[in-house]
């Protein structure tokens, strides 16, 4: 099996990843546990890895939410013990429209500032190698020579930097606005 084609990787990087923290926050609102959310997000990326073209996707944000919602519903229905409220909660989630909110526009502007924060928080050797790879654009071999370490170490440190950054992205606060809804306790316990 092949890895996803370059244009899909690029599209996911620029059009899907920025919405991941919102999708996670949205799934949390449906009372889904941490592990369920991990699995749903991962499975969403599996579906995207199978795409050969994204021309038909007008709204990547809406697409991401829809895919996640379908996977979530499928999982809850497949579970042996169905939590009625989960199905109901997921079913009631509205897929977000693609119009960026004022918050998201600000997020776009602070993208680079955020990136700086992520890089600055990496451990020292990890950060040096990351900078040589991604900022100076040096090949792996050259970095190994400059640092006086093996190429495997350069690879491991780069992968570590990537994982730390991916985790920060996943645990990032979402700028997603919770729905203003309020119910009396008794109403909600009817189920």
């Amino acid at each position: 099996m092949d890895s996803a084609p370059g244009h899909i990787i690029g599209w996911v990087g620029s059009h899907i990843l920025p919405h991941e923290s919102d999708v996670r926050a949205w799934l949390r609102r449906a009372q889904l546990g941490h592990e369920d959310i991990e699995d749903i997000v991962q499975e969403s990326y599996c579906r995207m890895a199978a795409l050969s073209s994204v021309d038909h996707i007008a709204s990547p944000r809406g697409y991401f939410f829809t895919v996640a919602k379908n996977i979530a519903l499928m999982r809850v229905r497949r579970a042996r013990i169905v939590r009625i409220e989960s199905v109901d909660e997921i079913d009631r989630l509205d897929v977000m429209s693609d119009a960026p909110s004022p918050e998201q526009i600000t997020v776009g502007r602070s993208e680079l500032a955020r990136l700086k924060r992520l890089i600055a928080s990496l451990p020292t050797r990890c950060r040096r190698i990351f900078e040589m790879r991604k900022i100076q654009g040096l090949p792996q071999k050259e970095i190994a020579r400059v640092m006086g370490v093996s190429e495997t170490i350069v690879e491991n440190e780069s992968a570590k930097a990537l994982r730390l950054i991916m985790r920060s992205i996943a645990s990032e606060e979402s700028h997603f606005q919770p729905q203003k809804e309020l119910k009396r306790d008794t109403d909600a316990n009817r189920n």
């Binding site: 995207m48 600055a120 900078e131 792996q140 950054i165 645990s171 309020l182 119910k183």
Partner: protein, 323 residues
């Protein structure tokens, strides 16, 4: 096709990150083993796409230039602050070289962070751990080669701790001590003690100077460590999730009474919510609201219970309509 035992998402993520960072094009040998890897667990393909997409999007970092040039303007990063001090001390040493020297000489970072009323701050630490600090809190971070120590002087914070067996991560809140290796938990310092909520992994908790042994808390456990010498543990994962909704700037009402909800709002906002009616104050509520919008909350309450709102500059009074 699926290998046994089943891989954890973390193992898959680790392997995917290694594949993602390899220089392209791959050697024919690497290419073959990547295909073989992808043919295994179907989750691998998604994990690889996410890792590759993140790695490729990180090329934007090129626009930043070397960090030595911009790190001075990021005072909220602990490591950076210390490095800047070092730069001032060593004078002419510049660029990457200074960063390298910093790694050798500086082995102790200390930094104090204070949040104002209503402020919730996410603070990445130099070791890769993250502190999310709640409203009106004060913490001091002290990083040494042998220990990572955080003093919770007041307030509340949640810690996502980077694994490092050699450098234990210890939070001190008054007499209470909480130690983690690689895990996530929160500590809320209150009058008479500290509340500890564990969201991932296991932590060790004890009272400084007390005779009895430390207790172990697992994910979903909570405890209140007061003056008493016994520590009682309660397993309440859902309550913990709600109690930590502040990390997303939210208050989870989950069955709280209106008076409790008002008290919670008043932790975050200058404008106070006052409930004028005892019956109304004991009504129980559900739902999630933004911590910074007491007006939206008050009008939702007014709508739900047919109550009346009187708003002044300093307070929002909620009471029943006079009949």
């Amino acid at each position: 096709m699926t290998p046994t035992p089943i891989e954890t998402s973390e193992e898959i993520e680790r392997a995917a990150s290694l594949w993602a960072v390899k220089d392209r094009p791959l050697s024919p040998m690497d290419d073959a083993s990547l295909r073989e890897w992808l043919a295994g667990d179907p989750r691998r393909r998604g994990a690889l796409l996410r890792a590759q997409a993140t790695w490729s999007s990180l090329s934007r970092a090129r626009a930043l230039g070397p960090s030595a040039r911009w790190q001075g303007i990021q005072p909220s990063i602990i490591a950076t602050v210390s490095r800047r001090r070092l730069l001032a001390a060593t004078g002419a040493l510049g660029g990457l070289m200074a960063a390298g020297v910093a790694g050798l000489i500086i082995n102790r970072y200390t930094n104090e962070t204070i949040t104002r009323k209503g402020e919730i701050r996410r603070l990445p630490m130099s070791d890769g751990s993250i502190a999310t600090i709640n409203t009106e809190s004060r913490i001091k971070i002290d990083m040494t080669d042998t220990q990572r120590r955080v003093d919770l002087i007041s307030g509340e914070a949640w810690f996502k701790v980077a694994k490092n067996k050699e450098r234990p991560f210890v939070v001190a809140a008054g007499m209470a001590r909480v130690q983690a290796v690689g895990t996530a938990f929160s500590v809320n310092r209150r009058d008479g003690g500290a509340e500890v909520l564990v969201t991932e992994g296991t932590v060790k908790a004890w009272l400084d100077g007390a005779d009895q042994q430390a207790v172990l808390l697992k994910a979903g456990d909570r405890t209140f460590m007061g003056q008493k010498n016994t520590i009682t543990i309660e397993h309440a994962p859902e309550a913990i999730d709600s109690a930590l909704a502040w990390r997303e700037g939210q208050i989870a009402l989950n069955g709280k009474s209106l008076s409790e909800a008002a008290a919670e709002y008043n932790r975050y906002n200058q404008i106070k919510i006052v409930i004028d009616d005892p019956d109304l104050a004991s009504e129980r509520l559900l739902g999630r609201f933004s911590t910074d919008d007491p007006d939206a909350f008050s009008s939702a309450v007014a709508q739900a219970f047919g109550a009346e709102i009187i708003r002044t500059d300093k307070a929002i009074y909620i009471g029943m309509k006079k009949k």
